[in-house]
């Protein structure tokens, strides 16, 4: 990403952001509410186009590509507010993702089951997606995104609304996904998760990149603490 | 004073009436998210109410309005509260246009239109009121139009203004807007959702009844009169932006203008086609209508 800027009317949501996501890493994106994380995400996924700046994926300029082409190129995403296909079953939801590279329903179903296993869906796969629990909906989001066979997956606050135990589960899932060869960019508010999971962290503040570095570097950064982590960050750690 | 100028005036006058007929539809959609396909039929029903009062008791529709509009408020209110409410509760709250409610209103449209056909037969009736058979002659008598049309034009703005005021400037309006944006949250704030829906539905229907008084005094009354204005009202509210009150009036004015001014240059059938084509173009360029808000 180079000098990416996005403006909504007069408001600059993301300002001159540059950064890089290495292959097979887990990169965290954190920052206060309204910092522009989701907006940045949406630009990478080409849901919005940047007002200025360029985005490259696998050395290709994708700044002006369409959302639907991104999945084909190997980039998948989840939504901050989960968006399951409500009328379908869990399995059918995942199958929709898996149909991207083949039309053979049998293969698709097999793939979907595999992915469901990978993320550890606990519920009955024949349940109507709308009726599942929050965690399962989050997992379903991940599974569906994985089913398209991405190289990079963007996770937007997948752990919000989960208790620490469940977060651990999801962290586990993320690791498994990474081990399966998928790069991850993750937005999260839970510091502990981020710290333990990520190889690299960006902190975004009022649309601008504040800090960039490994978890340790970030944790010790004064600016990061004052803008985001809060004075009693240390207490929370304990 | 050439014909073009005259037809602009006539277009505006007619457009005002169109807007008035459409405004009730827009209010109902804006709040309850329902396109009331029985809109035309209800307009027709109100016109027959004026017809009865006029032929039996010689009450002018513009006077009878004082009774009929509140009556239709009650009818709209009850329709929503008693009949549509269970359907709405059953649908997922997020559905943009609840299909079952849409189907229901189509059924209602059939039922009302044909009920009136049974009662009144299909004969055309007109109400020879003072405002129907007397003409205002302005600009040296070049611009001639029924008084009823002028009254309708003025009423369009009055009604739209009142509705706009109620919705945007009053306590009730705040509740109506709250309910239209988030039904459950409004309930949690102590707003009685279905009463509010009912009120919105009632307001829309009452506005329609006022439009009915206008229509009955410048057009004619028959069971099929709803079709003449029904489809057009749908187009008008969409053109102006579904749910927008000023949008409905502007949409109406545009339709009236195209019909009348267009007819000066091309045949009127081509002009009416033109209005549909314009409608499509506007939608393609601005999918939420002229004054519509993006959701």
């Amino acid at each position: 990403m180079e000098h990416v800027t996005k403006q909504f009317g007069g408001l600059t949501a993301v300002n001159d952001f540059s950064g890089e996501i290495e292959k097979n890493a887990i990169v965290g994106l954190i920052g206060p509410n309204g910092a522009g994380k989701t907006t940045l995400f949406n630009m990478i996924a080409n849901y919005y186009h940047p007002t200025s700046g360029k985005i490259y994926f696998k050395d290709q300029d994708i700044t002006e590509a369409r959302t639907e082409d991104m999945a084909r190129m190997g980039l998948a995403r989840t939504f901050q507010v989960t968006k399951p296909f409500g009328d379908m079953t869990v399995l059918q939801n995942i199958m929709v993702g898996a149909f991207l590279h083949t039309t053979n329903a049998r293969q698709v179903e097999q793939k979907a089951r595999e992915v469901a296993g990978l993320v550890g869906m606990t519920c009955d796969l024949d349940m109507i997606a709308n009726n599942t629990t929050t965690v399962d909906k989050k997992k379903l989001e991940i599974a569906r995104a994985l089913a398209v066979g991405p190289e990079l997956i963007l996770l937007d606050e997948v752990m919000a609304g989960c208790n620490p135990q469940e977060k651990l589960e999801l962290v586990d899932t993320c690791r498994k996904v990474r081990d399966a060869g998928v790069t991850i960019l993750i937005i999260e508010h839970d510091i502990k998760t981020i710290m333990s999971l990520c190889d690299k962290i960006y902190i975004l503040h009022r649309g601008e990149k504040l800090v960039e570095g490994t978890p340790e570097q970030v944790a010790n950064d004064k600016r990061a603490i004052s803008a985001y982590l809060g004075e009693d960050f240390d207490n929370a750690e304990n | 004073m050439n014909n073009l100028f005259l037809s602009i005036l006539h277009g505006l006058i007619l457009g005002g009436a169109y807007g008035l007929i459409a405004v009730g539809l827009s209010v109902i959609f804006g709040v309850v998210r329902i396109i009331n396909f029985a809109h035309g039929a209800m307009l027709m029903a109100s016109a027959y109410a004026y017809y009865e009062l006029f032929t039996r008791y010689d009450v002018d529709p513009f006077l009878a309005m004082i009774v009929i509009a509140p009556l239709f408020f009650v009818i709209g209110f009850l329709l929503q509260k008693v009949v549509i409410r269970p359907l709405l509760i059953r649908e997922r709250a997020s559905v943009l246009e609840p299909t079952s409610v849409m189907l229901f209103t189509i059924g209602l449209d059939y039922a009302i239109a044909n009920l009136y056909l049974m009662i009144y037969t299909s004969r055309y009736k007109t109400l020879n009121t003072w405002a129907y058979s007397n003409y205002a002659r302005l600009f040296d008598g070049k611009f001639v139009t029924q008084y009823s049309r002028i009254i309708s034009f003025v009423l369009a703005f009055v009604v739209a203004g009142i509705l706009w005021f109620i919705i945007n400037r009053t306590e009730l309006g705040k509740r109506i807007r709250a309910v239209s944006q988030n039904r459950d949250a409004a309930a949690l704030c102590g707003v009685n959702v279905h009463t509010t829906y009912g009120i919105a539905f009632g307001l829309g229907t009452a506005a329609l009844a006022i439009a009915g008084a206008c229509m009955a005094s410048f057009y004619l009354v028959s069971p099929s009169v709803g079709n003449v204005f029904g489809t057009k009202s749908f187009m008008i509210v969409v053109l102006g932006g579904l749910g927008s009150i000023p949008g409905a009036i502007i949409g109406g004015l545009i339709f009236g203008l195209i019909e009348q001014v267009g007819a000066q240059f091309i045949t009127s059938t081509m002009a009416s086609m033109l209005s549909f084509i314009l409608f499509l173009i506007v939608l393609v360029i601005k999918p939420d209508g002229l004054l519509g808000k993006k959701k």
Binding site: L168 | K174, A187, L188
Partner: protein, 234 residues
């Protein structure tokens, strides 16, 4: 103040909450914690009338709440800050607060209440004319709380108020919650941030699969080994 006995409820015939009893005394913070899908939100929805209960009772100051619609329950003084904030996105902050006080009595005190809210949440004063849909997550949460407080509720129920908030805001929010309690409002809170919640609450319930499995003073629950394992990931 609020007394729930053997409450059962669910969606479309499927029972999710299997007989929960709990109590919220005056002037206390009572917390409900539990895993995802345990039925916490469902319980809250049943109490506030958003979904019907199949059996059991919810009593508020001795009055039964069963079968009342959400607006009636709210008018009695039970107010909910719902999961996911649920604001009116196309209305201004101020309008949102006004709606919060649209019952007869609270309308009379609207002005004072609003001023008080702006004292508690000075950020909102700056943004009073902004549409809430364009506020940041933290600001939205403030509006949601302020809106609920506008009616001077005697019991405030909160469903996951820290959802999606940056850590710095989470800390602020818990401080605010304690402050509200100190102003004389009982609070029933459902939270995933188990540690912080239990540490400020007077009593806590742990819910699993629609039943209460544990209850105790908040701080004591925090010491419980099994709970630590299950919810704190320690």
């Amino acid at each position: 103040m609020l007394k729930i006995s053997d409450l059962r409820t669910g969606y479309n015939g499927g029972e999710i909450v299997h007989g929960i009893s709990l109590e919220v005394p005056d002037n206390q913070i009572v917390a409900i914690v539990g895993g995802n899908g345990a039925g916490k939100s469902t319980l809250i929805k049943a109490i506030t009338g958003l979904i019907p209960l199949t059996s059991g009772t919810a009593e508020y100051n001795g009055e039964k709440l069963n079968g009342l619609s959400p607006d009636k329950i709210m008018q009695k003084g039970v107010c909910l800050v719902p999961e996911g904030r649920q604001l009116f996105p196309n209305m201004t902050v101020e309008d949102n607060l006004d709606i919060g006080s649209c019952t007869k009595e609270s309308r009379k005190r609207r002005k004072e209440n609003k001023e008080e809210m702006f004292q508690i949440f000075p950020r909102l004063l700056e943004r009073r004319r902004q549409l809430t849909g364009t506020l940041s997550g933290g600001e939205q949460q403030m509006v949601a709380m302020a809106r609920a407080l506008m009616s001077n509720p005697k019991l405030l129920i909160m469903d996951e108020p820290s959802w999606g908030l940056a850590p710095i805001l989470v800390t602020e929010m818990f401080q605010t919650i304690e402050m509200i309690r100190d102003r004389g409002t009982a609070i029933l809170i459902v939270e995933q941030n188990v540690g912080k919640t239990l540490s400020i609450s007077d009593w806590g319930y742990v819910i699993e699969n629609g039943t209460v499995v544990m209850q105790d003073v908040g701080k004591k629950l925090l010491q419980d080994e099994s709970l630590k394992k299950a919810y704190l990931g320690i």
